[in-house]
Symmetry: C2
Subunit: 380 residues, 2 copies
């Protein structure tokens, strides 16, 4: 249900457990309970899944990629079709990224100028120019519930000097974005993004500058870009508390199940990652007992469900033996059944964390998952 | 619901309208109302669809390919898993072909001997030998509701002499199949196959010899193998009346929507074809107004459903514009949404024909579809 206009953008922290929070974010397309995991629907579908599948795995918000949607089918077409949600038959909230990450990871011939970034489409080589204002306009056309500002996602290994210079640009672009779409000018929310690489002083500087701008939420960008896990977690734990407690905090593009719980432990509310769907297509599945590689010969005649503790459509109806066969035969159904399970796991994990926070049991939950995934993992 | 043991194999013609019939065939896995279209689930899934999808398009029986299932996951594995239905989560009837057609169209290095056919797997080149008895054993392991005998599918263009010789072998194999699995020896039905190429005398000879053997149903094989449409229909109209009226008649591997109605007009009860699923994956979709190529630019901003007269999940929820986008972007969801629609159309067409027979309106229905698909089509 769409929330009342007056409520749009309201974020309520209902309960905290240490730094972990259980909250509710109101958007024009409904309320999102946090912590939340957002399945990634790159170009108008969460790969292989229909909206009914998404509701059955209890997804409450999905992510769309502005770069992809701008190139195909085009944001003007989406506007004509009533926005992305209407186009794809999804009546719950959608968050769109700014396209920045894809420009820096997918597009060719990119050139950054103070005004914006020039790039060539990875599909047909056509030339495009994104400015902070342009990506807001595109996201206006897409009609997402939550928009992200254009930023430069600094490559891993960038030095202090480069990162500091980039951060200045990202801050200017954030200010221009907010000026172009001032608070209250529409029904879409706008989030700012903190960069700063893996330098504490720059993360602090970026958080200071970005949180001066009145955004509806704040994200940590530039993590999970190739750095060692410890460095990601260390930077995340350092940066999360720099974001205002009264606004939703979003850790972009992270991560594995344990990373998500570590993020929640640091006070993060929102997550997205292509891992569950990409791994589904690679046959890597997440279960209550850890990762399963469904290709393995040991599952050839295994009549048990993928995860006996899971209630998803896949685990309720099919055996490991069947899932292995579909995968080995490269049947299209393999990708769907695997994606349903993995997303059910990730979305469910965030819900589980929320419930644990509400019951003051979050540290127990985190401890359990540290056991499952990384007995010797990074400890705070 | 499984039928009572005593009913298995019973075929009742409830009503006729000209040569067209409405009937009911009892199998160990439930009753099939005829005329019926059987979606093809080559290797343990109807491509991109789950059993729930199949039930929603009202599929009452599906087809499995013995050749594919024997190679992967293997018929012994299927037996251990309780049969194909249990393996893939499908609790309605399944018909398995004999593998003959695939050996002659897919496998390498095939050598026909009086005893059987030797071939190499198209997957890994491994050598195999199928006899009439062996393919019954394989289908026993698969646990299908209806089994087909091994036959030689004569290539299009074979002359009278070759076809006559092949027919003799096919007849011997049919007799050996029935001897190996005598009537009443199990809960699976066994159908014979009439061959004879495009020669009236040989079709007649084959029908005479095959129907002497007490099968539970009789099929026409060797059609839709590359011949002109007129020749297919002419041979079909000639051969169908040669099959006993008291048994189900199955036209193998045919065909397009109008072909199916022509088949029903000739007295055929059962159909299968890869066309709806293969064309779904090529973007060719069947609608109440004829074929739609969803790739066409004219659909780019078309907000209407694919077929306004269709009640399938795809047409109830998505626009042509969205389906075109998914197809152009090669999203996995395109194949599923298109397959749901096309199969709903084919399964529904057979149901529509059944209803028309029951209401003595079949000629009207046939006339309408001759208008839609081939205003100048073959007339009987």
């Amino acid at each position: 249900m769409p929330d009342n206009s007056s409520d749009i953008g309201r974020f309520r922290v209902i309960r905290t457990d240490g730094s972990a929070r259980a909250g509710e974010l109101s958007t024009a397309h409904g309320t999102v309970k946090t912590p939340v995991f957002m399945p990634v629907g790159t170009q108008g579908s969460v790969k292989s899944l229909c909206p009914r599948d998404l509701k059955e795995i209890h997804a409450s918000i999905i992510l769309g990629n502005t770069y992809h949607l701008y190139l195909r089918p085009g944001d003007e077409l989406l506007a004509d079709m009533g926005g992305l949600g209407s186009f794809m038959g999804w009546d719950r909230p959608v968050l769109t990224d700014s396209g920045g990450f894809q420009i820096f990871s997918l597009a060719d011939l990119r050139v950054i100028t103070p005004d914006g970034v020039r790039f060539s489409s990875h599909i047909d080589g056509s030339r495009h120019f994104f400015t902070p204002e342009k990506v807001i306009s595109i996201q206006n056309n897409i009609g997402s519930s939550i928009m992200m500002v254009l930023d430069e996602c600094v490559p891993y290994g960038a030095d202090h000097e480069y990162t500091a210079r980039s951060l200045k640009l990202t801050t200017e672009w954030a200010a221009r974005s907010r000026a172009f779409y001032p608070p209250g000018s529409g029904r879409q929310l706008l989030f700012g993004i903190v960069q700063g690489g893996f330098f504490h002083d720059l993360r602090k500087e970026s958080a200071l500058r970005i949180t001066e701008i009145p955004f509806d939420g704040y994200a940590l960008g530039g993590l999970s870009v190739g750095e060692p896990k410890e460095q990601m977690l260390e930077t995340m734990y350092h940066s999360a508390p720099l974001l205002p407690a009264v606004k939703p905090r979003y850790l972009m593009g992270v991560g594995k199940p344990l990373d998500i719980l570590e993020g929640i432990n640091a006070g993060i509310d929102m997550f997205d990652c292509v891992l569950p769907t990409r791994n589904a297509r690679n046959g890597t599945l997440y279960t209550s007992l850890g990762q399963v590689n469904i290709k393995r010969a040991e599952y050839k005649r295994d009549e048990s469900p993928l995860d006996p503790a899971c209630g998803c459509y896949t685990c309720s109806n099919f055996s490991r033996s069947y899932l292995r066969h579909l995968y080995m035969a490269r049947e299209l159904l393999a990708y769907r059944l695997n994606s349903i399970h993995n997303l059910h796991y990730f979305v469910g994990l965030a819900s589980l964390a929320r419930q644990a926070v509400l019951e003051n049991q979050f540290q127990n939950l985190l401890g359990q998952y540290r056991q499952i995934y990384a007995p010797d993992s990074y400890q705070v």
